[in-house]
Amino acid sequence: MSTPSRVRLRAYKVGFGDCLLLTMTYRSKLPDGRTERHVLIDCGSVARADDGPRMAEVAELIAEHSGGQLDAVVATHRHRDHVGGFGDARAGETLDRLKPRLVIRPWTDVPESERDQLDDDQRHFLGILDQLPAQAERLGLFAFDSVAQAKRAARLAELGFKNAAAIARLEGWASDSKAHYVTAGETIDVEAELPGVKIQVLGPPTLKDVPALTRYAKESEEYWLGLAGDSALAELLQPSGTATPARARRTLAQPGGVGAAEWLLRNLDERRVSQGLEIVEALDDVLNNTSVILLVTIGSRRILLPGDAQAENWSRTLDQLKTNRRLATALGKVDLYKVGHHGSRNATPKRLTAHWAQSAHPVTSLLTTKRGVFEKSREGAVPKPELIDGLAALGPVHNTDDLPPDVWWLDLEAPTRGPANFAATPGPPVR
């Protein structure tokens, strides 16, 4: 049996988004004559790095770095910053030439034609997911309290816009070769495509395992989802033609709009908590929670790739830490962590970092982000400084946003055996 001797995770400087190429190197030639295997994990961006490549250029790099063949493609979830590149006409054509042999996507992305295998609850949930893009486009039009909020909401909404071209391309690859629509708990058999590599799926859970996936954190969100499905949400949150602050004052702050309720009306209006933004964030999280979480084991190296999974997606796996010894051990020995959701709140569960701190195994972290894309909200900045500090206590933290000018990728490479950990090497300057 062939086993890889080295493993490398190459993160392209795509700005705010993920585009990662995982390469395994083998000592001897594999049956097809190659000595490498390549997995592309996501390819998308919503805000290009100022000195970074265009999507078409990224695709050309991937073609070059993979020697013209992709053995697997992972599309963690449907957001633009993860799959946008697949929908880009020029990048897509380049990637088509790499003929991916296997496509890995979450169970929530099962194509229309195969949905009859799902149960009613699951189909209902997917029906809601289908409504999200249209809703996202409408949410961007909401009235917001401040320019910063409106900008953030527009950015978030944009992530969820329909990505028909990207989805069509992924489904095309899948029908030409092989596809896995995965759920937490399974181990994908990739021996044919990636000899000596083990891929465990830690997320997304099924609805039965974690009903909270649709209804997590607050009851209201399921409502918003339901309402989003009915397209009834916008009317409830937008001031209608007749409901103006002046009219509300006349009705409630008698006499003449200057009565005692005027103070409250003014204060609610000035310092209101924008529900529009909260709802946009909540709907954004619903899709994030469909992210595939993969634990990839190559020899004694372990790489954790959680996409943008949020706490609810993680919950099934983390709930098992106390009872499932093997899972706890495997997760405790992660060497390289692609930081979830570009370093935002709620994507790297406390229980996970606590587990690492306890196991005292050094963890190298990789952030794929661009600062300043998401304005500070009530929840804080992306990436979140407290989280980065916490990860720095566990091991080195690398950020694609810190690459020198005109350097378009960052490599994290390690032998598959022995104590040496992942070493970071920036790519050469392109100009």
Binding site: K218, E219, Y223, W224, L227, A248, L268, A311, K350
Partner: protein
Amino acid sequence: MSAADQNLLHHDTVAMTVFAQDPIVLTAGKLPLFAQLAVPAERLQRGPRGHRFHVVDVGVGTNAAAAPVVLNDGDPWTYRDRWDADHRPADPALLVEDADFRAQNLFAVAAHTLALFERHLGRPIPWQSRYPQLYLVPRARIEANAFYSREHNAVLFGWLPATGDQPSLYTALSYDVIAHEVSHAILDGLRPRYTEPGLPDQLAFHEALADIVALLSVFSLKDVAKRLLDNGNGKIVFPGDEAAMRNPDQEVGRRLMAEWRAAELKATPLTLLAEQIGGRRTPAVPGRYPALRRSVDLPASSAWTTDPAFLEPHRRAEVLVAAFLQTLVAIWAARLDPLRVDQDGVDVNRVAEEGVKSAQHLLGMLLRALDYLPPAELEFADVIDAVLTADRRLASDDDRGYRDKLRAAFAAFGITPPEHQMVDEDGDAAPPPAARRTPTPYRADPDAKTRGGIRYEHLNLAALRTSPEEVYQFIWNNAGALGIDVRLTTRVERVLGSTRVGPDGLVLNETIADYVQILRALPAELPPGIDAPDGLPADEPVELLGGGVLVFDQFGRFRLHQRKPVLDVDRQNRRLQYLAKRGFRDGGDKRRFALLHDGEDEQ
């Protein structure tokens, strides 16, 4: 004046119709459970608006406004209940969607809750804002949550419009939610410093008090307990009774019967919080009401003290709520002992009556103790200490053993009153023996020696009842005897009169004075023994808090001192460590007290 009109000048209270729990809680006959709530009589303006509450029905952001409701026929000194048994529509769904009824429901439960606090403390309670009215907004936001917002001087109630097969949900129709949120507002008026960054018990007490008031005050509503317990024929059956009575050892049988009955009583909707919201959040279990929280089932142990999940205020609060509710069912079951058991069960009227008495008594014990809680740096142990002390002062004998039961319930959760923290001039609790005093970083103030115990010389006893300066002079003159180091910044924040009536009618007039001590120092200059945690910026001062309550009797004599010394090295270290772990993020004026909280895994 029609038959349903009630004169607001000739009565102390008027009866207003409200949902006794929320629209989904039904009687055995499958009818929604209404109550005629006793609301203090006052002149009512459109809104409704009284002298303490103002209902403003506006949607935040949408400006959707419902016209203020008028609850009379033109004379503001009359009140007409448009929704009493003779007038309300037969279909409860019509009532749920009626904005006027929602406004009355909200106003009535809020006013009833405030009256409950004021009756037990014997004085009006101000809002934190110092404005006379607190705003109540029944349809503020679209969410199944509600919160008290100090910055808006308002409680904002969420709602969810009907969609698909789900009916609409208004948190302003839930007795538990209204009582819970208004209790937050009341406590914030009484103890504004409980929102300062502090140990986790402080915010948890906010949640616990709100839950306990919501749960126990329902009992006092006429007939509600009875109708919830009634199986349809005026009886309640305790399945364990028969086996208990067959027990050959009569003593054992009695004990078992009380235990098994207590377990049964635990399962009634009376001990469950916010059923309708709970039902939306958790899948239904047949035969059981859903609930947002069922703290009564929390097993009694001290395991919570080391479980990080219990650092979240709502979760932590469940410890106190469980201690109170478990005491309640124990007292209740004990009071049922003399009741006759017929073949078809026990008379539900009598069972309910005993439940009402037990709940009222226990709630009274808690509310009467609020003035004895330290004004800052509250910990759970202070709660049980204050409750026992306040109850002892009002009811010296405790023939039904309520105090012992409560003390035991708290002890089962690992919470015991601190010894010698409350110094009672009567000698009930002497000052701590020197050997057991908490170590202090500085030697006693050599200038503060007091000769011959407490001195009253130079004091104006009339001024002592109202003036913070006069109380400060008392502290100044007796700093040594009281153990208050007045070299540190010390301020008397409030002096109040309180008139409380004990269970047997004993009236206790007291003057309650709160003082606070504040110490600010750079991390490097903290008092010896108090260590700044890592990660604290060296150039930002740390604020340490302490304080206490001084109680004087109607003759101006000093009676009691509740102390949380600012220089308690152990407590201050625990607080700084805890705040450091939380990233110093607690507190702030904009803190909102919501019914629910976000996920526990957030970084």
